[in-house]
């Protein structure tokens, strides 16, 4: 009995990819490559975020230093203007709190900035030695 001759089979010489298969493969490959390209966007976003945070930290640091040069008694319980102060696109609101009898001023500095339409806020605080208030 000849099994081979009775089984229908594809023509081996024509075995291959159809154009549809090839196009699908190319599309998938392109998506992969575009994914690689998209990492650039992620890096840019992260770098921008880093810039904002570093500017925020510098602004807070400078504010703390400026407050340090002031007079303890005069600064007690003072705060920033209601609208805050804006430096390099970051806005800060600070408050200086002195508890009667304590030897320190507490300084709070809230920094806010916009990243891609979203508001981000960071709070820095520090304590300064002071004559008894």
């Amino acid at each position: 009995m000849n099994i081979m001759s009775n089984v229908p089979r594809r023509d081996a010489s024509r075995d291959g990819f159809t154009i549809v298969e090839v196009v699908v493969a190319i599309v998938i490959l392109s998506i992969g490559i575009l994914g690689l390209a998209a990492t650039a966007g992620v890096v840019v976003r992260q770098m921008t975020g880093a810039v904002h945070q570093s500017v925020a930290a510098t602004v807070a640091y400078s504010r703390m230093e400026k407050i340090r040069t002031g007079n303890c008694v005069a600064m007690k319980d003072s705060s920033s203007p209601a609208a805050g102060v804006t430096t390099r696109n970051v806005t800060e609101h600070w408050g200086i709190v002195g508890t009667a009898g304590s030897h320190a001023l507490l300084v709070y500095d809230t920094i806010s900035y916009m990243v891609r339409g979203k508001k981000k806020t960071q709070l820095y605080y520090s304590e300064y030695p002071c004559d008894p208030i």
Binding site: T58, S62, K66
Partner: protein
């Protein structure tokens, strides 16, 4: 029994198939190469931008350390300009253990019972300065820190009985500093003292690479005997006189009211502006190729001010 007696037909691609495949491959390969080239350019640019930011931050990390502790009212600011700042940095502290008309002896370093009256970051040399508290008359209003320039340094086993154990510290050498001028007659044993050496920060152009760097050099406490300038951070943008918006490094000095001052004893805070840029044009998306510039401004409050 074999179904075919003739040789099998050779499987293969037709010319048209090969052409189509090559064209498609070409298109895809071009796309991939473009993406990879852009990626490479992007990451090189990103690295340069990050380097530039790091260099800027570095300057604002090193300068405050020396500047913060100076006493402007005590004359610690030796010279100041928009491109450089020359201050006396602390290198040690101690107390006057015993003194003569023109010398002081300080306690040995490691006394018994783990007591420490003397600390050194670096040991003072001749022409460094020791600043001693002069109590003067009763009350605090007239107290003053007076700088004395060291003219000779000896170590001795004699003197300094006040802060030492006569038996257990007897073999410990103590430093005796002789000054070029006589001490104020109202300086007493037990007065605190601090040792200072000149440190200078300035923006300078390196002769070897023609780039602008933040330079650091040490001088003796009286401003003499300066070492060669060394780069501490950079490179930055070129120096431009009195231009805080473009100059690589600029210093601005303010008094306690916030007004710009040229008087060294009135300085209450120092503003440091650092501007940097990448060494070559960078492309961070959008295909725009340009030098990337960034800056940092920090305020340094001087702790011992008027």
């Amino acid at each position: 029994m074999r179904s075919h007696l003739s040789p099998p037909r050779r499987a293969g691609f037709s010319l048209a198939e090969i052409m189509v495949a090559l064209v498609l491959l070409g298109i895809v390969a071009t796309g991939i190469m473009t993406v990879i080239m852009r990626q490479q350019q992007f990451y090189r640019s990103a690295t340069e931008v990050i380097d530039t930011r790091q260099q800027i931050r570095q300057a604002t990390a090193v300068v405050p350390v020396d500047v913060r502790g100076v006493s402007s009212v005590g004359g610690d600011i030796l010279n100041m300009s928009d491109s450089s700042l020359d201050v006396r940095g602390n290198i040690g502290s101690g107390v006057v253990c015993s003194h003569t008309a023109n010398s002081v002896t300080i306690p040995p370093l490691n006394l018994v019972n783990n007591r420490y009256f003397t600390t050194f970051l670096t040991r003072p040399k001749v022409n460094d300065v020791i600043i001693i508290l002069d109590d003067k008359a009763a009350g605090n209003a007239d107290d003053d820190w007076i700088p004395y320039t060291i003219s000779a340094i000896d170590s001795t086993l004699g003197g300094c009985v006040n802060f030492t154990d006569i038996a257990l510290d007897a073999t410990k050498y103590r430093y005796r500093y002789t000054f070029s001028t006589n001490l104020s007659t109202t300086i007493v044993d037990g007065a605190p003292l601090r040792m200072a050496r000149g440190v200078k920060y300035s923006i300078y152009k390196s002769a070897s690479d023609n780039l602008w760097w933040m330079g650091y050099r040490e001088c003796r406490g009286d401003g003499s005997g300066c070492a060669a300038v060394q780069p501490v951070s950079g490179p930055y943008r070129a120096y431009a006189a009195n231009d805080t918006v473009n100059s690589g490094v600029s210093f601005v000095y303010r008094d306690s009211t916030g007004a710009v001052t040229a008087s060294k004893i009135d300085v209450a805070r120092v503003e440091l502006f650092v501007h940097g840029e990448t060494q070559s044009p960078v492309a961070l998306g959008g295909g725009q190729i340009a030098l990337y510039r960034d800056y940092v401004k920090v305020t340094i409050a001087i702790r011992n001010r008027q």
